[in-house]
């Protein structure tokens, strides 16, 4: 079969591969090249070595501060969303009425797009802050805290459904045996439930990690980085460097390369940790 199939390689793969080259491969390689160049259009690019990278890390660039904010933001989101999602999953896997109704409600925000969500929360948060004579753009930290609230609201349901699926997969005999042996529900949670769903915890941790780290739409709609650039996360900051100031497109591209490298490192760690878990179990 392999021989016959290989003759058909063009029909099976060319449409996808051509589009993949146009949308990803060629832009990716050009992107790396442009990060070492000064340009306003692709055609007038001049090689400048590592100048763009130096500019990205220099004091008057917002790249490092926004990267720092993003790291802090990501860690807080990761902890809060997983904790909330896991607690909701525990409550919704109890034997009681209405669990599927609640599951439906909690998951719903996850389907709504980032731009729409940003404006929805802009109304709510500005409405609350108004009572204290402030707005979301009074301080950079307000925008970031707003984003954390938004992300918890959006992603908790997502993590919850993954945790529910994992909890429902636990062999009920194991829990029953523990209960017969006199384990309290806290002990079953710590010694049986959590260790068994460890793979789901790894998946959810990395999902919240990458989603928070790459966040763009919500950031744009909620505050657009205001005041100044103080509530910009790194993806928005890169975008602004690219299109905000003329002559800085090369610096934006260099920042995008660094952003990509960080995400690639996270992905490698993720692959490594899931592989190890699979071997262990």
């Amino acid at each position: 079969m392999q021989k016959v199939l290989r003759k058909y390689w063009a029909i099976f793969t060319l449409p996808t591969v051509i589009c993949f080259a146009i949308a990803f491969l060629i832009p990716f390689i050009t992107g790396i090249g442009l990060s070492f160049a000064n340009f306003t259009t692709v055609n007038d690019a001049k090689f400048v070595g590592f100048a763009n990278y130096k500019k990205a890390f220099s004091g008057d660039s917002d790249f490092l501060p926004s990267l720092g904010r993003t790291v802090l933001f990501t860690i807080i989101c990761m902890v809060l969303i997983n904790l909330l999602g896991f607690i909701l999953a525990l409550l919704l896997t109890r034997k009681m009425r209405g669990t599927s109704f609640f599951r439906t409600i909690f998951f719903m925000p996850n389907l709504i797009g980032g731009i729409v969500l940003g404006y929805v929360w802009q109304l709510i948060l500005n409405g609350i802050l108004m009572k204290y004579n402030q707005t979301l753009t009074t301080k950079g930290s307000y925008g970031i805290i707003g984003l954390i609230i938004l992300m918890c609201w959006q992603m908790t349901g997502y993590m919850m459904v993954i945790y529910i699926a994992a909890l429902q997969n636990i062999n009920p005999d194991m829990i029953e045996a523990a209960e017969i042996d006199g384990a309290s529900s806290w002990q079953t949670l710590i010694h049986i439930k959590i260790p068994t769903i460890m793979p789901a915890i790894t998946i959810c941790t990395f999902l919240t990690l990458t989603n928070s780290f790459r966040l763009f739409d919500q950031n744009l709609a909620l505050t657009n980085g205001a005041p100044g650039n103080d509530s910009s996360l790194v993806a928005l900051d890169i975008y602004k460097t690219f299109y905000g100031t003329t002559g800085y497109a090369g610096v934006g591209q260099a920042e995008a390369v660094i952003f990509t490298i960080i995400l690639a490192v996270i992905a490698v760690i993720q692959l490594h940790s899931t592989r190890r878990k699979e071997v262990e179990s």
Partner: protein, 290 residues
């Protein structure tokens, strides 16, 4: 024991009901404000619309804040909402169809052909899943301009290309798990690989196809940056139209904004109500395998 369990369940239900309110509250708030005059939205977002004017004595007269569907009319007009809606539907439906059919073919070939070409492709696709859009956005937009892909038909090429990584990966994962016997038999019976794929393999892939379709629908329907950079003002999709409503008019018309937000959320709620089970299962499957 039984009674305490029941009491606990009642308490938990009350807590969950309260949390549900928090989860749908923001959307209800936008819905409520979408019926209020635009000047009364930012100033008092948590107040219900009033249906009668109130005499506040010395302070003057407070007009009624309920404006009926006025915001919807102006929102639809200012954003050309039906145009944006049509475009979003067109782009999402056809991108997803192309992605499901073409990447499943590619994935089957890659997994079965097992030659050098297939291996290189596989690793390139997996690699592309990690790369953020910011890395390629500038060059991709330029290439799209040169190739005249800056329209709702052309952008299908970009969605197929940029979405191929995850989709090929998910289909490959599925193909690895199905035995080759049936396919071999079909080939021996005289099917060519193309017939074999569409008559035998593609129907078996249905669960994965649904998962891939749902994940890509959620991404493409809500995507903002790619349609904005590639097509911009000429062909706005719903998210782009909303963003223009904010940016385009010196002081933002909050009434129109609230109405358009609700109009943007309604199709999602309908889609969710119709295929809730598939969506949740698809998202879980996507997370676990992706």
């Amino acid at each position: 024991m039984n009674r305490s369990r029941k009491t606990a369940n009642v308490i938990i239900t009350i807590i969950l009901a309260f949390l549900s309110l928090i989860f749908i509250g923001p959307i209800l708030m936008v819905l409520m404000n979408s019926f209020k005059g635009k000047l009364f939205i930012s100033s008092e977002p948590f107040k219900f619309p009033t249906f009668k004017q109130q005499d506040l004595g010395e302070a003057g007269i407070m007009p009624k804040t309920f404006v009926g569907t006025k915001n919807y009319v102006s929102g639809i007009e200012k954003t050309n909402f039906w145009g944006a809606f049509g475009r979003s539907v067109f782009i999402t439906v056809f991108s997803v169809l192309l992605i499901v059919v073409l990447t499943s073919m590619t994935a089957w070939f890659i997994t079965r052909a097992k030659n050098h070409y297939a291996n290189v492709l596989y690793y390139l696709f997996v690699f592309s899943m990690v790369i953020p859009f910011q890395m390629v956005m500038y060059s991709m937009t330029k290439i799209a301009d040169v190739l005249h892909l800056d329209n709702p038909v052309g952008i299908l090429v970009l969605y197929l290309g940029f979405g191929a990584g995850m989709s090929v990966f998910m289909f490959s994962g599925f193909v690895k798990g199905i035995p080759t016997d049936i396919e071999e038999a079909a080939i021996i019976d005289g099917c060519n690989p193309l017939q074999c794929f569409f008559k035998v393999v593609f129907p078996i892939m249905k669960p994965t196809s649904i998962t891939v379709a749902i994940l890509n629908t959620m991404w493409i329907w809500n995507d903002y940056l790619m349609p904005y950079l590639v097509m911009g003002k000429d062909y706005p999709t719903i998210p782009v139209a909303i963003q223009y409503l904010q940016g385009g008019y010196g002081s933002i018309d909050m009434g129109a904004m609230m109405a358009v937000l609700i109009l943007a959320i309604i199709p999602i709620i309908i889609f969710y109500a119709l295929c809730q089970r598939q969506i949740i299962e698809g998202v879980v499957a996507g997370a676990v395998k992706g």
